[in-house]
């Protein structure tokens, strides 16, 4: 009951007109930067840090949290409509979301993303409110060995996006892993694959690769076909909103995505991307119409979108309970705490009760605001698709270029964007899937680092992955997911014979 009364106090703090205004500005700003590829919530909040010299802490954190949640909403819009992911956590959304848009179901895709985000954000916030202290103790049990096995499990998800040819899919995957390894190796401080370019020391931003492969590659591909006179208009079929069937197919993925997103987001090295991969894989496996995956299956939008929003809530768990910043955005928010002379740590809930509960209450409010703001925008957004193609794709190139330049004002990034775009065109031309590149790029370096950490701690003893119960369980799950279907098919064949 104590939690409830403190939450009510929090609402009293968050519902003052000035704090409501901060929540509104934050969610609006967050949606806007989410839409623009490249500029993410971490950079936006960092640029807004100087307001901490002027605004009181509660107001500032309500603004920042609004930006954080809003960016997760906004990122899906361009993924779905333009195949241009705004954030790395919405890359998976582009896979099915953009196919849905091409089938004339853009409205439904945007709606299931918005409602799924709302459901996930709200359940995630309930999770913060009531489960945070328990979740965080479980999360601390995850060491490098467990993370490595979690990444191994996540690698299985590649099988869901390999396409028709396993060999081509694996080539894409290893290309992605190689891209991910470029830069300074964290464990030794030595540069790898940087060709002596200092601009590559910090590695290549995954957003640059995603936007290059998806948006620029797609534009070049379309332009090449346009020249051959094969232009088709995007049809808008059926209702703008979700049909009864689409609702039925959405609600379970929302809930499963929320569970995955919140729990993995709460892990100190979990992140927002892995739950979206896992959610996509699970939805494809569980779907009654798996053949629709790759052609615009609504489950493939609903699940990952719920997962990325729930992970945003999950990330706040270690931040608020232990003062641990586990994502770039959380780290920037913690440095804002320090501007106020507040030292975030395990005692934050006691020493700054008003601030923390006000922040949590404002998360509930921000979620409602985002839903109210985003649903009426759906018909407007969909109109973008009525724009003639040469104009539309010209606009996409412009968006992609501005957004990429916004990441670090680097000309090298722009050159990379277009080089990868050209690579994306040839991949498309020769039927290599693009999604494994992204999965490899995100998971490859993470898995490598965790593997080496685990082996450093165990002094080179490989059995560490099997002797720890959690990591052994995760490995077993990965093995089952990878081999299970084959064994099952083999058995079924033998029985039939």
């Amino acid at each position: 009951m104590d939690t409830l009364s403190q939450l009510l106090n929090g609402f009293a703090v968050a519902l003052t007109p000035i704090n409501l205004m901060f929540a509104l500005i934050g969610t609006f700003l967050g949606t806007a930067i989410g839409v623009l590829p490249g500029i993410g919530p971490a950079l936006t909040i960092a640029l807004l840090l100087p307001i901490t010299f002027k605004v009181d802490p509660t107001g500032a954190f309500i603004l920042f949290a609004g930006i954080y949640y809003g960016a997760m909403y906004g990122g899906s819009t361009t993924s779905i409509l333009l195949n241009t992911p705004g954030e790395s956590a919405t890359i998976v959304t582009a896979l099915e979301g953009n196919r849905m848009a091409k089938r004339g179901r853009a409205g439904a895709a945007l709606a299931t993303a918005a409602i799924g985000s709302f459901v996930a954000g709200t359940i995630g916030t309930v999770g913060i409110t009531f489960l945070a202290p328990i979740v965080v103790e479980l999360a601390l049990k995850f060491g490098p060995a467990e993370y490595f096995c979690l990444m191994t499990l996540a690698f299985v998800t590649v099988s869901a996006v390999l396409g028709n040819s396993t060999v081509r899919g694996l080539v894409s995957l290893f290309f992605g892993i190689w891209l991910g390894l470029i830069g300074i190796d964290l464990q030794t401080g030595q540069p790898r694959f940087t060709f002596g370019l200092i601009e590559l020391l910090d590695g290549i931003n995954v957003i640059v690769v995603a936007v290059g492969l998806f948006a620029v590659g797609e534009t070049l591909w379309l332009a090449s076909r346009h020249a051959h006179g094969k232009d088709e208009l995007l049809p808008l079929s059926g209702s703008l909103w979700m049909t009864r069937e689409e609702w039925k197919r959405s609600w379970k993925p929302w809930l499963r995505g929320t569970g995955l997103g919140f729990s993995i987001g709460a892990l100190p090295a979990g992140g927002a991307e892995i739950p979206t991969f896992l959610s996509y894989y699970i939805e494809k496996k569980l779907s009654l119409k798996p053949e629709e995956f790759g052609n615009g299956a609504i489950e493939g939008v609903a699940g990952p979108e719920a997962a990325n929003n729930a992970s945003a809530a999950g990330v706040l768990v270690p931040m608020l309970t232990l003062g641990l910043p586990t994502s770039a955005t959380a780290a920037i928010m913690l440095s804002a705490f320090q501007s106020y002379g507040i030292q975030p740590g395990p005692l934050l809930f006691q020493t700054q009760a008003n601030l923390v509960w006000g922040l949590i209450a404002s998360l509930y409010i921000a979620n409602v605001m985002l839903l109210v703001m985003n649903l009426p925008l759906v018909p407007l957004w969909v109109k973008i698709l009525a724009v003639p193609k040469p104009w539309l794709y010209g606009g996409i190139l412009l968006f992609a270029t501005i957004g990429t330049y916004g990441i670090s004002q680097s000309v090298i990034d722009l050159m990379l964007l277009y080089a990868i775009g050209i690579a994306g065109y040839f991949m498309r031309r020769f039927d290599f899937p693009a999604a494994p590149v992204i999965i490899g790029m995100i998971l490859g370096p993470l898995a490598e680092q965790e593997l080496r950490r685990a082996l450093t701690i165990s002094q080179g003893d490989w059995t560490v992955f099997l002797t720890r119960p959690l990591s052994a369980t995760l490995l077993a799950l990965a093995a089952a997911a990878l081999l299970g279907p084959h064994i099952y098919a083999y058995m079924a064949k033998r029985r039939a014979a």
């Binding site: 950079l43 840090l49 401080g189 200092i198 020391l201 100190p268 931040m319 003062g323 740590g345 701690i457």
Partner: protein, 327 residues
């Protein structure tokens, strides 16, 4: 080409300003000679160097020392990406770079062709001492006990900290050297950022951890971590932990941050910038800002600072060589 024009115009303007400064009295007159100060941050917004730069801006504004600021963030590789561009601003007297020990280590580990000493050192401003911590349920109650464990099995004691070659890693290497064990044989586990590293320590995934004291302060206060030692020369007010030195490990390290002017600035230009920094450091607002942010002031200016930076480069190089990160 417009870049070149700007440089020429600036050089002309500040040439005049410097002439004015040279003929006028130090102090207030100096401050009036710059109408704008450019802060060059070789790191992303929000990090330690950026916070230092923004605090300089706030304090100078509040104290009426300088009101017109322009910020330029060039992030990447502990400053190794940003420094070359700063070195290209040769002779420009209106720009200041924030940097520190992290850049020294990063340049060496990356075998960068440029050196931090190519910039013009202005002043060391703040520093943070490193802390050696263990999880609350660790059997090690003091540094002697941990040191014995390291000497018994250097690889058996695992350390969580920031990226390889960074300040945390440097301290572990120094402790190894002081204990006469091969630094390379020690199990150092690099994490990306303070959050994941702290999570690993709290969860007991590693034996010990190293970071700036401030990063651990709240965990220590809450009883979730135990601070075995700090890397200061003597005990620090507000920190309830002994030094490494008094526990028989002759190691001292401060993660310092300071400001640098562009290479090739004239003595007059350098004097103008030093004057601004000096007035800022002596203001009450700077004192408050440092207290709020838990920064220890270790102010040092001019040639002293220049020699200090050079000695840090030599020292860090030797340690990184011991760790196998430099040749």
């Amino acid at each position: 080409m417009s870049n070149f024009d700007l440089t020429r115009r600036d050089a002309l303007k500040y040439g005049l300003a410097a002439a004015a400064a040279a003929t006028s009295l130090p102090g207030i007159a100096q401050a009036q000679t710059l109408d704008r100060l450019r802060m060059y941050i070789p790191a992303a917004p929000g990090g330690g160097w950026d916070q230092t730069g923004r605090s300089i801006e706030q304090v100078m504004r509040a104290a009426g020392i300088m009101t017109n600021f322009q910020f330029d963030n060039v992030p990447g590789a502990g400053g190794a990406v940003g420094l070359p561009r700063f070195l290209g601003m040769r002779g420009q007297g209106d720009v200041m770079m924030v940097a520190g020990l992290v850049m020294v280590g990063s340049l060496i580990a990356n075998k960068s062709p440029v050196k931090i000493t190519d910039a013009t050192p202005l002043a060391r401003l703040t520093g943070e001492f490193q802390a050696v911590v263990v999880p609350a349920n660790s059997p090690h109650r003091d540094m002697r006990s941990l040191a014995a464990a390291i000497q018994a099995s250097p690889g058996g004691v695992s350390w969580a900290g920031g990226s390889a070659g960074g300040t945390d890693h440097i301290l572990v290497g120094m402790i190894g050297q002081a204990l006469k064990v091969e630094p390379k044989a020690m199990s150092y586990v690099a994490f990306a950022g303070g959050g994941p590293a702290q999570a690993a320590i709290l969860g007991g995934q590693t034996t010990a951890g190293v970071s700036g004291y401030g990063e651990f302060a709240e965990q220590i206060k809450a009883g979730r971590m135990r601070c075995l030692a700090i890397s200061a020369p003597e005990r620090q007010p507000g920190i309830d932990a002994p030094t490494l030195k008094e526990q028989g490990i002759d190691v001292e390290l401060a993660n310092w941050r300071g400001v640098f002017a562009a290479p090739g600035v004239s003595p007059a230009q350098r004097a103008v910038l030093l004057g601004l920094v000096d007035r800022m450091v002596k203001s009450s607002q700077w004192k408050e800002e440092c207290e709020k942010r838990d920064w220890t002031q270790i102010y040092m200016t001019g040639d002293d600072f220049g020699r200090y930076v050079a000695s840090e480069v030599t020292r860090v190089e030797a340690i990184l060589r011991g760790l196998g990160l430099a040749t």
